[in-house]
């Protein structure tokens, strides 16, 4: 197994194009587990950690560009104010060690339906910047995932960054696990309120072959929330929102939980997070 450590993005893209057997390596918190379990024997490990650009973030016009190599710890510490939903999700990832090493780009690279970074990106309408020697493209996050652990990432592409609008309203993220820390989501839910455009964003994790939005629930809430009066949330609206979120999931039974429980939990999480977010909006 070769280990290549390019120091520039251009070199990394060139190697990626040259070596179809290369596996990119960021924090390694997924890759190393796969290697240790002998699930994968890549010809080359393409270490991206020396590429400075990958670990920066900046505001670019109305959008934030968050480099693929930004760790969860930094998302929490540096972007918690601008991307509160993503920071809440980052807080639930693994343990302090995993949050120090693990990156948002790695989460997308793995494209697990249980990846905690994904639901907040869905709720916030993020876009993923993919790059190759052929050029750069922006993929809406909702089109990024194609199946369990599969995405539109082409064999010669790398994930460069995530583009996302800073929160323009309250955001929430909740995750169910069968222990109180260090646990893969049984199911998770992200919510973003966009009062400026009277829209609601959602993201469901671990309850379908890919992370996905709950489109019908979004439209329902956007239509029912009393944006003008900022009146208290009608509990029936919250409950119906929960039902619609649950209905848009397509969970399975597995070692971590049953499909029925996942649906049930999603309904509760959606109902609760909408209640909290609305309360936060109303001040």
């Amino acid at each position: 197994m070769d280990f290549i450590t390019p120091s520039t993005w251009a070199d990394a893209l060139a190697i990626r194009a040259d070596r179809p057997d290369a596996v990119p390596l960021a924090g390694g918190t997924d890759v190393m587990v796969e290697l240790n379990f002998h699930r994968r024997r890549p010809g080359v490990l393409l270490d991206l950690t020396r590429i400075g650009d990958l670990t920066t973030w900046a505001q670019d016009g109305e959008l934030l560009r968050v480099g693929a190599g930004v760790s969860y710890t930094r998302l929490i510490e540096e972007l918690g104010d601008r991307l509160p939903g993503l920071a809440m999700a980052a807080r639930t990832v693994g343990s302090p060690q995993i949050r120090n090493r693990g990156t948002l780009g790695g989460n997308l690279g793995s494209a697990s339906p249980a990846g905690d970074g994904h639901p907040p990106l869905l709720a916030a309408d993020a876009q993923v910047e993919l790059a190759s020697v052929r050029g750069t493209r922006l993929v809406p996050i909702g089109e990024f995932f194609t199946g369990p652990k599969h995405s539109v990432l082409a064999p010669d592409e790398l994930i460069a960054a995530v583009w996302v609008r800073p929160a323009d309203g309250p955001e929430q993220f909740s995750k169910i696990g069968t222990r109180n820390a260090m646990v893969i989501a049984v199911s998770s839910f992200a919510l973003a309120l966009h009062p400026g455009r009277r829209a609601v964003g959602t993201g469901i994790g671990s309850a379908a072959p890919t992370p996905r939005r709950a489109a019908e629930a979004e439209l329902f809430a956007a239509g029912q929330l009393p944006w003008d009066t900022l009146a208290a949330l009608d509990p029936d609206v919250a409950r119906r929102f929960g039902e619609l979120v649950a209905a848009s999931a397509a969970p399975i039974d597995d070692v971590r939980g049953t499909a029925a429980y996942r649906r049930h939990a999603l309904a509760v999480l959606a109902q609760r997070t909408l209640t909290w977010a609305w309360r936060d909006l109303c001040g």
Binding site: S174, N180, I184, R256, Y261
Partner: protein, 756 residues
């Protein structure tokens, strides 16, 4: 965390019995420098790897080793035909193939072992082996396995019933005013030690082999390995390597014979280390159980009778199932005085993974059921759950269902009252769901639950249970020094520290060295059954006493009570009579002692009557939980426990055992389960076999009672297992109190709590 030690005999010697000197391995383990068995190394060593069955039940129809042998760097590829001696091994029954011959009986059963010059090459060789199976329907339901017409035999030459222990006491037809019944289930827990199975076998010039191995009982390994290799015991020498946790999972052989076979075949040292996933297939697990109970009580809540049926799934091979069944039966009504008992416990062969020893075995499964029943009884009578337990509590002088008299302290009621008397738990640090932001208080309800358990200490049923210690007192650099040599396995419990403490107390010598444990000295028995401080501690003490007698004999003419303190012989008033160094001179005094506890007796096969156990140990728990009743998530807020340890030989180690054991019981209550479908393990990893984290374990209040047992060394009572037994039912009772859910199965899952 706080710990109070009551009634302690003051420690008279620095670092002696009753003190908590620093453990010699502590700093190394914390800093990561301790050499575990997986760190063993020899310059010219080869690496072993194992081909395992992917099927729970199949016939092997084809085996082609050629492709593996042709890989450069491969030195040996061995099958059952290469086992020179006995091809089977086992702790109680010799029924488990070293390597499967034509049939495999559980997923993960070893079939071929390979040695190569690199672990990766060895793994590739394993993959290259050509093998074909005729896959058969596995027997996975223990209830079906019990009936000849409902399941085939797992072993063609014997029925699936491994052992049945009936217990009959009093009137089997007794009737009662209040009757509660229940059916319960316990999932398959894993010991989940962090140091995987590993060892290094080194071929010796005399045709024998030296094996460096992490195990719980060197001599029982030695016996089995020697028989399989067809070598005399003195040609199979074992030395204990650094053990990364045990909890029962190292009582059976794993890679011991395999590594020795490969080493003898290749003439090179062979190292084997299982990976995490392989480890889940490399050792036995806790028996899953189905338990049916009927409790009858009078209107005051006094138990009139208990009827119980316990089914324990032993999996494909016997391992220690027999002892597990006996424990479940004899301890299966709990620490209660019940005049009429009808108990039947069964152990069965199935094609599920083999089950054997795990901390508290037999007693753990039963305790979940009988304590659930006691809560049910309390509810039926409108009584407080502690009150109903206290009214039925076992006392000194009562008889167990086996007819055995309870001798020595049995502070069941006191332990219950102690945990009940603590102030209620305060607010939790965080809600159920941890940092995952699932509730701001919505749906959260508090509950409190109790549990008490009973465990036998040491080996039972007439087993010749002994420990050997060789102790040597001599002058080193002009100062008295002691060398202790035993074969007792330090598995992390602190035995090495305890042995030195005993020497300091008995011989008044500060400088004590504990030699590496190996088979050059007699057997110490197993580091299991909460027995090693009792047994090896007892042997070390007896050897020290023999040395003291010989030393003091040199002071002829001197009468009265003499003690050895600080290198001196002192009289009753503390006056110095002689100097140990002068008395000893150039000659070393060495004593080797084989020490036994009081004999036990077999159970009557029809009635289950008999004095089968040496000592009983008790612990009680009170758990306080916050439950998110809508999501089914649990945060254990506090655990209060009280345990009688007879004598806290090392209070810090005792408290550590109580914390750790309680955590393991909490794990069984809430998350730890090997999930099986059709005999196959679905979660062989720490990603999905969940162990409690620091966020799951609450602060604990620990009360340690020291009520001396007149028959044991220093009055001590085995400590390691009791805390694991009662914490499980206490946590579940607390969740029931919060939710009203029936919760008849552990681990409790969120979907059980919310009922979807």
């Amino acid at each position: 965390m706080s710990a109070t030690v009551h009634v302690g005999l003051a420690a008279t010697v620095t670092g002696g019995v009753g003190a908590s000197p620093l453990r010699p391995d502590g700093r190394l383990k914390v800093t990561g420098e301790f050499a575990f068995s997986s760190d063993l190394w020899a310059d010219d060593m080869l690496w072993g790897a194992t081909l395992r069955s992917p099927h729970p039940r199949a016939r092997i129809t084809e085996l082609d080793l050629g492709p593996a042998l042709r890989i450069p760097g491969v030195y040996a590829v061995l099958t059952h035909e290469d086992v020179p001696g006995r091809r089977l091994y086992g702790l109680e029954h010799v029924d488990q193939p070293v390597l499967a011959a034509d049939e495999v009986r559980y997923q993960g059963e070893p079939i071929v072992v390979v040695a190569a010059d690199h672990p990766e090459t060895a793994r590739r060789a394993v993959k290259a082996i050509g093998i074909a199976y005729d896959v058969l329907d596995p027997v996975t339901d223990p209830e079906a396995a019990l009936h000849a017409d409902r399941a085939p035999r797992v072993h063609a030459d014997r029925p699936n019933l491994l052992r049945h222990v009936p217990i009959r006491r009093g009137d089997p037809h007794a009737a009662a005013a209040v009757v509660v019944t229940g059916e319960y289930e316990v999932g398959m827990q894993d010991q989940a030690f962090l140091g995987p199975e590993s060892g290094l076998a080194v071929p010796a010039d005399d045709g024998g082999v030296d094996l460096y191995i992490a195990t719980q009982w060197l001599h029982v390994d030695q016996q089995q390995v020697a028989a399989c290799l067809d070598l005399p015991a003195d040609k199979v020498r074992l030395t204990l390597a650094g053990v990364g946790g045990a909890f029962g999972a190292r009582e059976d052989l794993s890679m011991q014979v395999h590594a020795c076979l490969l080493a003898l075949r290749t003439g090179r040292p062979v190292k084997m280390v299982y990976g995490r996933e392989e480890s889940f297939f490399g050792h036995v697990h806790r028996h899953p159980a189905r338990l049916r109970y009927e409790h009858g009580a009078d209107a005051d809540g006094r138990l009139v009778y208990v009827k119980a049926r316990i089914l324990l799934d032993g999996g494909a091979y016997a391992s220690s199932s027999g002892a597990v069944v006996a424990n479940a039966a004899t301890l299966g009504i709990g620490p209660y005085d019940v005049p009429n008992v009808v108990m039947d416990a069964y152990g069965l062969y199935t094609n599920n993974p083999p089950c054997g020893a795990m901390r508290g075995f037999g007693a753990v499964q039963a305790c979940f059921a009988y304590e659930s029943q006691m809560d049910k009884l309390a509810a039926a009578l409108g009584l407080d759950p502690v009150e109903v337990r206290v009214r039925n509590a076992l006392h000194t002088g009562d008889r167990m269902p086996t007819g055995q008299l309870v001798e020595g302290p049995a502070p069941v009621a006191e332990l219950l009252r102690l945990v009940q008397s603590k102030p209620p738990a305060g607010a939790a640090d965080f809600p159920p769901g941890g940092t995952a932001n699932t509730t701001r208080g919505e749906g959260v309800v508090r509950g409190v639950g109790y549990g008490i358990g009973i465990k036998n200490v040491c080996f039972s049923e007439g087993f010749d249970d002994y420990a050997t210690a060789r102790v040597r007192l001599e002058l080193i650099g002009g100062r008295p020094a002691v060398l202790v040599h035993t074969a007792a396995a330090e598995v992390g419990q602190g035995l090495v520290t305890v042995q030195a403490q005993i020497v300091r107390t008995e011989l008044g010598v500060d400088q004590v060295t504990i030699a590496p444990a190996d088979t050059a000295v007699g057997s110490a028995g197993s580091s299991s059954a909460s027995r090693q401080t009792y047994m090896t501690g007892g042997a070390v003490r007896a050897a020290c006493q023999a040395i003291r007698t010989r030393l003091l004999d040199r002071l002829d003419g001197l009468a009265g009570e003499l003690r050895l303190v600080d290198g001196q012989v002192r009289d009753a008033d503390g006056g110095t009579v002689a100097d140990v160094a002068e008395l000893l001179g150039d000659e070393a005094i060495e004593e080797t002692v084989q020490w036994r506890h009081r004999p036990t007796h077999p159970l009557d096969p029809e009635t289950g009557q008999g004095d089968a156990h040496v000592q009983y140990a008790f612990a009680a728990h009170r758990a306080t939980v916050d439950v998110d009743t809508e999501l089914g998530l649990v945060k254990v807020v506090e655990i209060v426990t009280a345990q009688d340890v007879g004598k806290a030989v090392n209070p810090a180690a005792v408290t550590g055992q109580i914390h750790g054991g309680t955590a393991q019981g909490l794990g069984l209550a809430l998350m730890e389960e090997i999930q099986l479908v059709d005999g196959k393990v679905r979660n062989p990893s720490f990603t999905d076999y969940l162990l409690p984290t620091i966020m799951d374990m609450p602060p604990m209040t620990v009360d340690v009672l020291e009520l001396a047992d007149p028959h044991s060394p220093y009055g001590l009572r085995g400590v390691g297992e009791p805390p694991t037994i009662s914490s499980t039912p206490a946590v579940v009772a607390a969740i029931r109190a919060a939710t009203g859910a029936a919760l008849t199965r552990v681990p409790v899952r969120p979907e059980h709590i919310v009922g979807v």
